[in-house]
Amino acid sequence: MRIRKHHLFWPLAMLAALLLFNLIYSPDFFSLQVRGGHLYGSLIDILNFGSPLMLVAIGMTLVIATGGIDLSVGSVVAIAGAMACLTISKGSDQGSLGLVLSAVGLSLVLSLALGLWNGLLVSGVGMQPIIATLILMVAGRGIAQLITSGQIITVTSDSYGYIGSGSLAGLPFSIFLVAAVFAAAGLLTRRTALGLFIEAVGRNPAASRLAGIRSRYVLLAVYLFCGLCAGIAGLILSSNVSSADGNNAGLWYELDAILAVVIGGTSLTGGRFYLTGTVIGALIIQTLTTTIYMIGVPPEITLVVKAFVVLVVCLVQSEAFRQALVRRWKTRHYPAEREAAKHAS
């Protein structure tokens, strides 16, 4: 019973249920093959394709914990990819490591700057987060278009391609990036007092201010971090397809990320946050997407199916819903018997 109280129980149970479904429906879902030193298989695909979402969702978790939201992550993903691809495409030797590193550095600095912009609007100007980040969500697509001059920039660089499709020790390199960011986020929030400040500011800003927390810097920090996470995700995405599409890269990522955070157990009202839960939430979403493709749902209704499963996931996770269900069940069955038992005792 105690294990069911743990905040990771329901997200893990949902993930397990999805995997179980796949096991029954397509037994080779779990098969892994080694080809040329790399692992191949659906599970690896889920990890690889899910890594940008996991990154964005990790950043989003901290923003949501402060009671905010960052709608601009999808646009930042596009901008970061566009910036990196543009820099590489301008170079004489696209494969050179120096060029790729400077491209990566440049787009990460740009992502931080975009995060700073969001952070300043929220903490300095005092704008509502949903509005403040909506600005960059809309304008950011334009900025990405501007960088790519409205074209899809294609690069031919093995070094750059490594970020999104290379592998290390048989596993996709992107997984290691996720692990590194996840560890960094964990260390930053749990080994310093930042996590406590984030939770305090998110749950009760007035009390936090009177307790001496400078919420302005806390807010700035989370939006910066969220921008950086989105930037790295943008690099992975564009590297994976060796091109930058200002229009479609990272489209609707903000919504999947918010969903992952919520499935992971962090409340949209701010306060307590769960980074591990978020990662599991992102995996659930990615597994679901993969599953829908695998079982051959017609493309025109995939979103409907996805929405339906997400609804079920959210309902099952809701304690209030589960209790209501249990009550219904108990009162509906054999009321006469219960009545009799009452009289007998």
Binding site: R191, T192, A193, L194, L196, F197, E199, A200, R203, N204, A206, A207, S208, R209, L210, A211, G212, I213, R214, V218, G271, R272
Partner: protein, 512 residues
């Protein structure tokens, strides 16, 4: 049953327009109204008085149909009525103007007055007719000449207040309820409002007036009904109820029953080292300029009724609100305090009045709540090691007797008294030079109350200065070396040890 002074029924030969008798309204765990009576005659201003939790707002909500009563009778115009919804109340002729004007600032004055009842012809609104009617209504009944076609937001709160009244009158009110209408008005505006109220009174309207300002009560009201803790204390003619009696009835202390405080050895203490000095500190609309000096190890209390400016004064000292004039000096450091953080760095600590909204972070554990302020002063990088955190939490849980003694319990699961102790622990951990406690004992049980009072005296003995705010006179008198009395957002008197007694304090609070 309370006092009934002067039976108007016989004297004037008029029947009350509104008569509420034996009203009961219970909420889970709270007896909000316990057999309350209230009468309102046509052509009078009737003040409803009481401290926090007395039942004033519940009574108003019952009258306006927001709550329905458990027991009791309401008569309007001699007929028994049952008011079940705000709409019914309006139709019965009971209109309310709330403290926060609830009109639409983006609509014009005329639209605000006529919203939902616009004059129409062939299905369309007759704008000119509406504006003309609005102008006439404001001019004739409220002596207000303004351009009614401009948005409400273009006018001051005082005018907005009058527009709200105009709207109420337009719904053919017989009873007008004004719930703290003056709290955001300046002196001139209050005068304007009162002129309007007097005129309406002459026209036969019955006005129920709620305010925290004693001067205003005596300025305008004919009669006063006092509630305390949900009970009916009595109904009095304003002219024959001395201020001091009004105050003593509100806070529930009979003059005769007051005991003098046994003098402590306090006077033996020598001159104190100055810790904080405020000169001419003020904030518009919150508190008028005041001087205050607090020395090391001194317990200074702020006494006054609710809304007298006690909390506002404390918030200025702590930098929670910005002052707009005057100086504040702390110890040797010059300059003023601009933020709570700066105040904390200078050795101040502040337990706010609203524990839930401004004190605890309810989703965090007891340990995290206790450590919050100390960690904030250390910055995010230098986290207090986990083992040290647990030691400190355990130490203060034991010292303050926090129950349950589990540092990992979420603070929201604790009782009010224990939450208060968690807040105290949070501040004691920062070793402040001056601890500001705003109503630290409100809503907590007797045992915890006594513990907190004892703690205050102990801390003062150790050299910490304490600024203590409380509505309970007994408590104020028991713990303080010095009492600063506030009334109507002004510091009106400072009393030192020898003349501290509940009677004297109460007299100062009542003033006049």
């Amino acid at each position: 049953m309370g006092d009934w002074i002067g039976d108007l029924t016989e004297k004037k030969g008029v029947r009350p327009l509104l008569g509420m008798t034996g009203i009961y309204k219970h909420f889970p765990g709270v007896k909000a109204l316990n057999g309350v009576n209230f009468r309102l005659f046509p052509g009078e201003v009737h003040a409803l008085m009481g401290e926090n939790g007395a039942g004033k707002s519940t009574l108003i909500k019952v009258l306006t149909g927001v709550y329905s009563i458990d027991r009791g009778s309401v008569e309007l115009d001699g007929r028994q009525v049952a008011i079940h919804s705000p709409r019914q109340a309006q139709e019965a002729g009971i209109s309310t103007v709330y403290q926060e004007v609830n009109l639409c600032p983006n609509l014009t004055v005329a639209e605000n007055i006529f919203i939902g009842r616009e004059p129409r012809a062939f299905g369309r609104i007759r704008w000119k007719e509406m504006n003309r009617r609005a102008e006439r209504l404001l001019r004739e009944r409220l002596q207000l000449e303004i351009d009614v076609s401009r948005p409400l937001a273009d006018y001051s709160v005082a005018v907005q207040q009058l527009v709200a009244i105009a709207r109420a009158l337009n719904i053919s009110a017989k009873v007008l309820i004004l719930d703290e209408p003056t709290s955001s008005l300046d002196r001139g505006e209050v005068g304007q409002l009162f002129a309007v109220m007097r005129k309406l009174k002459e026209e036969g309207l019955a006005i129920l007036f709620v305010t925290h300002f004693l001067d205003q009560v005596y300025d305008i009201s004919d009669r006063i009904t006092i509630l305390r803790g949900g009970e009916f204390v009595g109904e009095y003619e304003a002219a024959s109820l001395p201020r001091i009696e009004l105050v003593s009835k509100m806070i529930g202390k009979e003059m005769e029953a007051l005991e003098e405080r046994p003098k402590t050895a306090g006077s033996a203490r020598g001159p104190r080292e100055l810790l904080l000095e405020a000169s001419g500190l003020a904030r518009q609309g919150a508190i008028e300029p005041f001087d205050l000096r607090i020395g090391k190890g001194e317990v200074v209390s702020l006494a006054g009724l609710l809304g007298s400016g006690r909390t506002e004064l404390a918030r200025l000292l702590f930098g929670a609100d910005r002052s707009d004039q005057g100086k504040l000096r702390l110890g040797d450091s010059p300059g003023t305090i601009h933020s709570p953080r700066q105040a904390i760095d200078e050795g101040l600590a502040f337990c706010p009045e609203n524990r839930k909204t401004e004190g605890i972070v309810d989703d965090l554990s007891v340990r995290e709540n206790i450590l919050l302020a100390m960690q904030a002063t250390r910055g995010w990088l230098r986290m207090i090691p986990r083992r040290k955190q647990e030691e400190l939490a355990d130490e203060y849980i034991k010292a303050l007797n926090i129950n349950p003694p589990n540092p990992e319990q979420l603070v929201k699961n604790l009782s009010g008294g224990n939450q208060q102790k968690v807040l105290l622990a949070r501040w004691l951990l920062t070793r402040p030079k001056l601890l500001i406690l705003d109503e630290p004992t409100r809503g907590i049980d007797i045992g915890a109350k006594a513990e907190i009072q004892k703690l205050v005296l102990k801390l003062a003995g150790e050299g910490m200065a304490v600024l203590f705010i409380s509505s309970e006179l007994e408590e104020v008198v028991r713990v303080s070396d010095r009492i600063v009395v506030l009334r109507d957002r002004k510091v009106v008197k400072e009393m030192i040890e020898d003349d501290i007694g509940q009677q004297q304090v109460m007299r100062a609070i009542a003033g006049g």
